[in-house]
Symmetry: C2
């Protein structure tokens, strides 16, 4: 009997995510969210709660989507090493650097809010743990496939790879040349995951 929603929740969340991604949490005003989503304040609050709840929801869905994507890669990849390679290099393939400049919503949020919002720090730790677990699986598979040295500790190597990629994300955000970032990514990969 009630009046049904007049908006597509996924479209709204996508618009909201994009706005937070580009402007950061503090830099995004409710007005920004309203114009990006096309909703009024009442609808936004009624559907998603306050600004922080909305942000945390968007962040968690972003993390989950990334995790699912990475696991999907691993399921479908020909070789485990390809997943690690794609994870480290993929973000910087765009020659314009536009992608790189956006950075990663999670990394942006973690740097901006970890100190003040415990939930964000916890979410970041959770997500990075999940990511490095998938990377460790990929590295173990690469070891079986002869693409990674058997002496490597898969878990520790996965974490080091994650750290390297995170650093590249930071450098990408400040506008570093994507070609240089790609070279650095290659150096990280060959150094951290030797073949023999």
């Amino acid at each position: 009997m009630p009046r049904p929603r007049q908006f597509d929740e996924d479209r709204v969340l996508s618009a909201v995510r994009s706005t937070f991604w580009d402007k950061g949490y503090a830099g995004t005003s409710l007005e920004d969210l309203m114009s990006a989503s096309g909703l009024g304040k009442g609808s936004l609050y009624g559907a998603f709660g306050d600004k922080q709840s909305l942000f945390l929801r968007v962040l968690r869905e972003y993390d989950d989507a990334n995790d699912r994507m990475l696991r999907g890669w691993l399921d479908e990849a020909d070789r485990g090493i390809d997943v690690v390679r794609e994870f480290v290099i993929g973000s910087f393939r765009d020659p314009s650097g536009e992608y790189a400049r956006r950075g990663c919503l999670l990394a942006n949020a973690a740097m901006e809010l970890s100190a003040s919002t415990a939930e964000v720090a916890a979410e970041a730790r959770r997500s990075y743990a999940a990511t490095s677990a998938v990377l460790a699986d990929a590295i173990r598979r690469a070891q079986r496939e002869g693409d990674a040295a058997a002496r490597l500790d898969p878990d520790l190597t996965a974490q080091a790879v994650l750290a390297g990629q995170l650093g590249l994300v930071v450098l990408g955000r400040i506008g570093q040349d994507p070609a240089a970032l790609t070279l650095m990514a290659e150096a990280l990969l060959t150094g951290l995951i030797p073949a023999n």
Copy 2:
């Protein structure tokens, strides 16, 4: 004949830096800066200009101090490799993780403001270029001293080391265990700068 300054500029800048460091740019209000420095608004504006000018000044001095410190290490170190090692591992030696949680003022600022403030992005690129130049010198020296493989490209390796350290800074900021960070730092060093 004029009335002289009644405050120590260095002390004020130090207090301001600490506040920006902990709270971020947007998260720091003028009230925060006033109470941290002990100055009124008039004095703050008269001496340093508006909030953004003050922030950029503090950031540049922070970068310069870091650069001088790193160069000083290189001048006094017994071996080049020690400088690289200290650069990567040094920040996470504090077992409480308090240091790690603060992160790096430059990295924090770069992630928060690069997208919206071109000066910050440019300053970050400038500072990271300076840092990787010193690291490259250290790696060249390590090669001469037999602590780094001769086949390494010093400049590229320095950039990869910088990326790895940046990633560790991000992970430190979200509260990752310092012991785990140290292990990752060791993995990055041994992988990126093999000895033979």
